[in-house]
């Protein structure tokens, strides 16, 4: 047994919680180490002193005061039970019921507004007239120019990669290098 194990086992030894082997090992250690023995004695002495300190008792008025407090609590609880149902609306207090009503009305108003904006002028939601089964002919696409004016009026064809070629800018005589100035 070393010092750490000894210190860890002190309470178990005092409370008689060590098994026979550990107890024997513990006792051998304190026989060999006088400081360990004195530490054990001091702890046991402290425990004796702690047990001897007088017990603190309640005052003579404790019981009377307690009964008054119990009586008060009982009244409070019964009052709470009687009044709480009349002060609530669907289980909410008036304040929370008002807040909840405002939130519900706001939610319905905003929801209806958003829904109405998605409809066309006739007040009906837009219909889809095509058929999902129809597939477009990708080999020879036909573009109706009259219907798709945007294709015609567009000056730049974004799909044309040839126009992206860099044009060489003539900078002769426009750029002066520092070395030339000297």
């Amino acid at each position: 047994m070393d010092r750490y194990k000894f210190e860890d086992s002190i309470s178990a030894y005092i409370d008689n919680k060590l098994n026979l082997t550990d107890r024997q090992e513990f006792e051998d250690y304190i026989d060999e180490n006088s400081d360990a023995k004195s530490l054990l004695d001091e702890i046991q002495n402290n425990m004796r002193l702690i047990k001897e300190i007088p017990k603190v008792k309640t005052s003579s008025t404790f019981m009377t005061e307690l009964l008054h407090r119990v009586e008060f609590e009982k009244d409070r609880l019964s009052t709470k039970v009687v009044h709480s149902p009349s002060n609530t609306v669907f289980g909410f207090t008036p304040l929370y019921a008002s807040i909840m009503s405002v939130l519900i009305v706001s939610f319905i108003t905003v929801g209806y507004t958003l829904w109405y904006d998605n409809m066309d002028n006739s007040g009906q939601p837009p219909n889809f007239n095509g058929s999902i089964a129809e597939t477009p002919n990708l080999d020879s696409p036909v573009i109706d120019i009259d219907r798709n004016q945007t294709f015609v009026t567009s000056a730049i064809d974004s799909a044309d990669t040839t126009s992206n070629k860099r044009t060489k800018i003539n900078l002769d005589g426009k750029v002066n290098f520092v070395k030339k100035q000297r």
């Binding site: 210190e7 002193l49 603190v56 309640t58 119990v70």
Partner: protein
């Protein structure tokens, strides 16, 4: 309640036969069924034990009495929270310990210190006067104050287990349930608390 728990009823203990028969668990069961005399009997059994426990914890007599009363009121108002799977003593000590701990936390957060209180606290650390220690009462009082001061210096989790074990003399298993930590942790905390107390009280013989 005053009809059932009249001012005089608590001064009249149950007969000796009943005291021997009824365990704490029997009494709380009777109380849960509406027998308020069983509540009085439980109060009589536990008020001093709780008072002593709380006083060692908060180190203030009036506050301790208040907390002990609060615990017994909780017993009255929350009687149906008790389930028979645990010992009654474990349950009531858990309530008292929680109330005492929150009181200590409140105390810590209070920034303003009352000067009159400060002087009383300082007195507790004072050594006795120059008179010789012939009077046994003075010596006992001195030792008690030293021990009480040493306990107050312990960290909260050490303090709880020390009071429950060395002052209230509860078993390790009960303490484990009250503080809601494993048995091994309780053993370790008690051991370390005792070592710390030994350092604080080294000069006491």
């Amino acid at each position: 309640m005053m009809n059932q728990l009249s001012q005089n009823s608590y001064t009249q203990p149950l007969t000796m036969d009943k005291q021997l028969v009824y365990t704490d668990e029997d009494l709380i069961e009777r109380f849960q069924k509406g027998d308020e005399q069983a509540y009085i009997e439980l109060v009589n059994r536990y008020r001093d034990r709780l008072m002593n426990f709380v006083y060692r914890f908060v180190n203030d007599y009036e506050q301790s009495e208040d907390i002990a009363q609060e615990t017994l009121i909780k017993l009255y108002t929350h009687k149906h929270y008790y389930k028979k799977i645990a010992k009654f003593s474990t349950w009531i000590y858990t309530i008292a310990a929680n109330l005492a701990k929150s009181e200590l936390r409140k105390k810590k957060t209070r920034k303003v210190t009352n000067l009159s209180q400060m002087s009383t606290q300082e007195k507790e650390y004072e050594l006795p006067a120059d008179q010789p220690d012939t009077d046994q009462a003075i010596e006992s009082e001195f030792i008690e104050k030293r021990i009480q001061a040493a306990i107050q210096k312990l960290p909260l989790h050490f303090k709880t287990v020390t009071i429950l074990r060395d002052i209230q003399e509860l078993s390790y298993e009960e303490i484990s349930k009250i503080v809601d930590v494993p048995l091994g942790t309780v053993k370790s905390r008690i051991n370390r608390a005792r070592l710390q107390l030994q350092k604080e009280l080294k000069d006491l013989r």
